[in-house]
Symmetry: C2
Subunit: 236 residues, 2 copies
């Protein structure tokens, strides 16, 4: 039987936060489909490539594909479609190599590479997903202590929510994690002022060289949030 | 400078889901404080020990401590206090060995071992927390596809919530993860019947030999949930 196509989670950025399972699988893969982010300015970057090379995965194992970064999703969808089509024709031609598609963080947690999986499943291929550490878990390890404990609930908001949902979140006793800070900078800065009794943790680019962490309310309220920022708000 | 005390996340049960960082740290630790769960029947078990031994960590590195499993928390608190006191006196006596305290899953996500950390911080010791894969992320990898995508929110409920919170969860478009199924079996079985348009995934002991997964609503509605069960409910 042909091997499944592996969807491999690389973790939140620090190479050593990859799991043993992911690392051992990547070591034996001959084709690792790896996204290269293309910013609207044309700038190219690939955190995924950096993570793998720094762990000794060889450049010749990697097959890079360009991934346009934009709220308009057509460019990304075309890129994913091309990767899926290439994998499907490889398997149709009888190629039984070990093939992986990698994603930063956990590949099942707000990871757009899953669209590749949808196309592969439609074509009758089988898939195995390898879990990873999501970015918000790494953020909490940096802060230290418990993200949630005992009967506390956790709510994760990916940058956008209705006014009623925001209000309900801040008024609750629960822990709130907000991702993609640039999409909701005004809302967060308003909430920091309106709910100062909550504990506010602001983090950018965790696990990378430009990592930044602050609990200073004035600093959070005046900062310009990049897309890769995470806010953790707790009641203790 | 003395090394910090490391709080090391072992991941959700499958040994290979430990991170490279956790594994490499444990390899060089001379004292790894490891919980042995004591059931109300007196039965002893230690998933943490199994995970580490199966990866080649040596028995002589492990320092087991008994952890009574009960909703009454006094026994567990005494156990954590004893571990903390032992670590504090080791450091006070000038011992600079590499010391770790391990927890299953992620040590900052509903992990009671954090109480040890509180005592260490009070005594002026420094702590470093190593992130891991939480159990619900491993459950989602087994299911396949996206736990949450685009603007979907995630809510994690640790087995207990108010009636208003349950109703709000099931009526929303969001993904709901419920842990510790035995604490809310009636509520879940009622919700499966009341909200059949949601997708329901029921999982037990993921990553262990007795792993069990079902999406069969009749099966979910008649099953007796153990404590280590997770329910994932999505609207797609």
């Amino acid at each position: 039987m042909t091997e499944p196509i592996y969807f491999v989670s690389l973790g939140p950025g620090e190479p050593e936060l990859m799991t043993l399972q992911a690392f051992r699988l990547l070591e034996r893969c001959s084709r690792i489909y790896t996204p290269v982010a293309i910013a609207p300015t044309g700038k190219r970057s690939s955190k995924a490539t950096e993570i793998m090379l720094s762990l000794g995965i060889r450049a010749e194992q990697l097959i890079s594909y360009d991934l346009p970064m934009s709220k308009q999703r057509e460019g990304a969808e075309r890129a994913y479609r091309r990767v899926a089509d290439e994998i499907i024709s490889l398997r149709q031609m009888g190629c039984d190599e070990c093939i992986a598609v990698v994603a930063e963080g956990d590949s099942g947690f707000y990871s757009s590479s899953a669209y590749i999986g949808d196309h592969l499943l439609e074509a009758g291929l089988s898939i195995k997903q390898l879990a990873g550490v999501p970015a918000f878990i790494a953020c909490n390890a940096l802060i230290g202590g418990q993200l949630v404990q005992l009967e506390e609930q956790l709510r994760v908001i990916p940058g956008e929510a209705t006014e009623a949902e925001w209000t309900e979140a801040w008024s609750s006793q629960h822990t709130i994690v907000v991702m993609k800070g640039s999409l909701c900078q005004d809302e967060i800065q308003r909430a920091v002022r309106a709910y100062p009794e909550r504990k506010w943790h602001y983090l950018e680019f965790v696990g990378q060289e430009r990592e930044y962490y602050s609990t200073d309310l004035e600093e959070i309220c005046t900062r310009k949030f990049p897309y890769f920022s995470i806010i953790i708000s707790k009641t203790r």
